[in-house]
């Protein structure tokens, strides 16, 4: 069942409740089945497990103050990346300032002077 695939087996710790063959996993799967037959809602079944085993049993971490960074992190990373990227692209459009030394400035003046109407 879909719910068992979202819960963690505490004995082996690296399998879902749906896949594990541990005794406890079998027991807990039966519990889920019974409760569903009794008409208990999914949210209540999840609460039942969390009350006994803590948030550790959930493979989908709940959205709480402590996990806000976890869930929002990817979005923040992506947004920050995009913003940085577009700022850099836009910043490049400003042509770079060219600083001339005095000697170079002189030369420029000379060259420009060469272009006066009364050229030799």
């Amino acid at each position: 069942m879909a719910l068992a695939a979202e819960l963690r087996c505490l004995v082996c710790q690296n399998q879902t409740l749906a896949d594990s063959n541990a005794d406890l996993a079998v027991d807990l799967r039966n519990q889920i089945r019974e409760k569903m037959k009794q008409g208990v809602g999914e949210a209540d079944i999840v609460d039942f497990f969390v009350a006994r085993y803590g948030d550790f049993v959930l493979y989908r971490p709940p959205f709480k103050a402590t996990t806000a960074l976890l869930w929002l992190g990817p979005l923040i990373l992506f947004a920050a990346g995009l913003v940085t990227l577009f700022n850099r692209i836009r910043r490049r459009r400003i042509p770079e300032e060219i600083n001339l030394t005095d000697a170079e400035r002189e030369r420029v003046r000379d060259l420009l002077a060469d272009n006066k109407p009364n050229q030799r």
Partner: protein, 660 residues
């Protein structure tokens, strides 16, 4: 005697690695030809010594020398020869030796294929690799010696974990490590560039083939791992977002970003410091993965059983290598410069956006993998982060990237127009949309997620076709289609095939997740169950004996519409050395579907638990990965990467002073 030779070889290799590192790096800094010329022979010597050590360990396994502690804990007298050899890398110490061996192989490759590179660069690259090798050799010699002896020697070994007694074990780790370690070459090139203060299109062209080959190996390694888990573990899953799987996937994502970024640096000279950063990050993730698997910091089915003391050593090594690299980056990067200008809509910006998405994806996976540790360290409780998180986050970030895959390649460099792109792609989009909306109906059930996945897959394929057609049609010279196809560079075909591989992969994932079905039932001889349109008849269980196990083997007769399709023989094996029962699933593979049957516990002498699964298009997942790897191989064969006997152009460039 032989193990001692191996240990001595490792110690010698350590000395050589230090010499290689010092001579290479100091020699390049001082522009001392004599010192720099030590690098190549040192690299070869090191590789030979490590190979000798590896040979000694293999010999110990092959001859069942249980006086060596590592052999005793990972092998057994009944273990068949091929698995005794694979067991060399079955545990922590041996896998470190494999890592180091792979590093030796890559060093030899750099030595052989670098005649066209300036001596300073080669000296630096080999110098860095030498130091890395020294780190791993120290780690082995001081904390994880594969050659330590046991007194008294036990009569028999403990055995290789039965899950690892499989052809997958022979090929998956070596491929994976070739990939992980291969990224150290790109890393070394980046460090060499930072040290030398020179980072330009030529550097990118030199780095690119090394990065691509490492990427090919990592792609194959991960795909093999996934395929192996699928048929070995018995419950039909192929990816679990397990911390160690994530540890291999993050360098892959970063490596993919690096390949794309190198393409820009090579063609346009842009993104230079970003590419260098990516090269460092990719290898950093490889090393981080090594740490996570061996330190005990995270629980994982793949984690080696080891202790925090070893964890400290790797952590310090990681801090020094990567911390040092980031420090070097911060210090030297301002010298490197910016590169060409480009517009907000241009191929450069799309490639950079692709990079942002891939890096965000890798970052998110890292976040999810380490988050439980963060909360635990701050004493804020224990949580689990599993597939529901990773799938949601990864799919959301990859969707835009997949969309860009269709648009990017046909976008012009430097400056492009969105309306023009839209016009060129409108038919591709229409076809993709139609496929996405109609195909699910043909497959039996419409769902928004399946449709979306198919849209992305079809989009990549359709826009690739548009690109190919444009390339062939827009012949300025009036040459025929065939001649145009022949003169197109292999780099382009490589990209095409690799991108198609991604499309196939996405299609496979979408279809299998959307349409797979399974049933978990108690069966007795004669019972039939129907899954996915096939009828599975349980024909009873018999006993079989293997070389080092006994098993209960079931016979399952599969038919469709009354015609026999196949007979499957799932087993439940008991390996006496381990006392744990193992299920060996029986699979009938096919291009359009896999049929998967696994045998569970016996509930009574005649009743067994059987799990039957129908997995449509699942082989497209690994087929897609194979296509990606083939695409990479085609791209690397491009003429411009062939090593010529002499390259006057490169030599001339080497003489040019560093640009601001």
């Amino acid at each position: 005697m032989i193990p001692e030779v191996g240990q001595f070889a490792l110690a010698l290799a350590l000395c050589v690695s230090i010499a290689q590192g010092v001579a290479g790096l100091a020699g390049a800094a001082r522009r001392d030809i004599a010192w720099m010329s030590v690098a190549r022979p040192a690299a070869l010597a090191q590789a030979i010594l490590i190979a000798i050590a590896f040979g000694c360990l293999t010999y110990a396994f092959a001859t069942k020398d249980f006086s060596v502690a590592y052999v005793a804990s990972n092998s057994n007298s009944a273990l068949p020869l091929q698995y005794r050899i694979a067991a060399v890398w079955g545990g922590h110490e041996g896998s470190l030796l494999l890592w180091t061996l792979m590093l030796g192989v890559w060093m030899v490759a750099v030595t052989m294929f670098s005649s066209h590179l300036p001596d300073e660069m080669v000296a630096r690259v080999l110098g860095v690799m030498g130091l890395l090798s020294g780190g791993f050799l120290s780690f082995m010699l001081f904390t994880s010696n594969p050659f330590s002896r046991l007194f008294p020697a036990p009569a028999d070994g403990h055995d290789l974990n039965p899950l690892l007694q499989d052809p997958g074990m022979v090929i998956h780790p070596p491929m994976l490590y070739m990939g992980y370690v291969g990224f150290s070459v790109a890393f070394s090139f980046a460090i060499a560039a930072l040290l030398g203060g020179r980072l330009d299109a030529a550097w990118a062209r030199w780095s690119r083939p090394w990065t691509s080959v490492a990427w090919i190996f990592l792609t194959l390694g991960i795909a093999l791992g996934s395929g192996w888990a699928y048929y070995e573990l018995g419950w039909g899953g192929w990816w679990f977002w397990d911390p160690v799987e994530n540890a291999s996937f993050m360098p892959w994502l970063m490596g993919t970003a690096l390949i794309h970024s190198l393409a820009v640096t090579e063609k346009r000279g842009g993104f230079r410091s970003w590419t260098v950063l990516l090269a460092i990050l990719t290898f950093a993730l490889s090393l981080l993965g090594t740490f996570l698997v061996r330190s005990g910091v995270l629980t994982s089915v793949h984690a080696f059983a080891t202790d925090p003391a070893r964890g400290i050593f790797i952590l310090v090594f990681l801090a020094l290598v990567i911390g040092g690299s980031f420090l070097l980056f911060a210090w030297r990067t301002s010298r490197i410069g910016l590169g060409g200008h480009f517009e907000v809509v241009s191929r450069e910006s799309m490639l950079l956006t692709n990079n942002v998405l891939l890096v965000a994806a890798a970052g998110s996976i890292l976040l999810g993998t380490l988050y439980p540790l963060v909360l635990d360290a701050l004493d804020l409780g224990k949580i689990s982060v599993g597939p529901p998180y990773f799938e949601a986050v990864f799919a959301s970030l990859m969707a835009p990237a997949l969309f860009l895959m269709g648009v990017g390649p046909i976008t012009r460099w430097k400056k492009a127009e969105l309306p023009e792109l839209a016009v060129r792609l409108r038919w591709a989009f229409a076809v993709s949309l139609a496929t996405a909306i109609l195909l699910p109906f043909a497959l039996g059930r419409w769902s928004a997620l399946v449709s979306f996945g198919l849209l992305l897959s079809a989009w990549i394929a359709a826009s690739s076709f548009v690109h190919l057609r444009e390339r062939v049609k827009n012949a300025a010279t009036g040459a025929g289609t065939w001649s145009r196809l022949r003169t197109t560079p292999l780099g382009y075909y490589g990209m095409l095939v690799a991108h198609l591989g991604v499309a196939v992969f996405v299609a496979g994932v979408t279809l299998v997740k959307g349409y797979e079905s399974e049933k978990d039932v108690k069966m007795e001889a004669g019972d039939t169950i129907e899954v996915g349109g096939y009828a599975f008849r349980f024909d009873g269980v018999g006993n079989v004996t293997g070389p080092n196990y006994v098993a209960a083997r079931a016979t399952i007769h599969v038919s469709k519409g009354g015609n026999t399709v196949t007979v499957l023989y799932p087993e439940r094996r008991i390996y006496p050395s381990q006392q744990m029962p193992m299920t060996e699933a029986a699979i009938d593979p096919g291009v359009t579907r896999d049929l998967y049957v696994s045998l569970g516990d016996a509930l009574s002498p005649t009743t067994w638990l059987v799990r039957v699964q129908h997995k449509p298009f699942i082989d497209w997942i690994w087929g897609g990965c194979l296509l990606m790897a083939i695409g990479g191989l085609i791209a690397v064969s491009d003429r411009r990467y062939r090593i010529p006997s002499s390259r006057p152009a490169d030599a001339a460039m080497a003489g040019v002073a560093a640009r601001p």
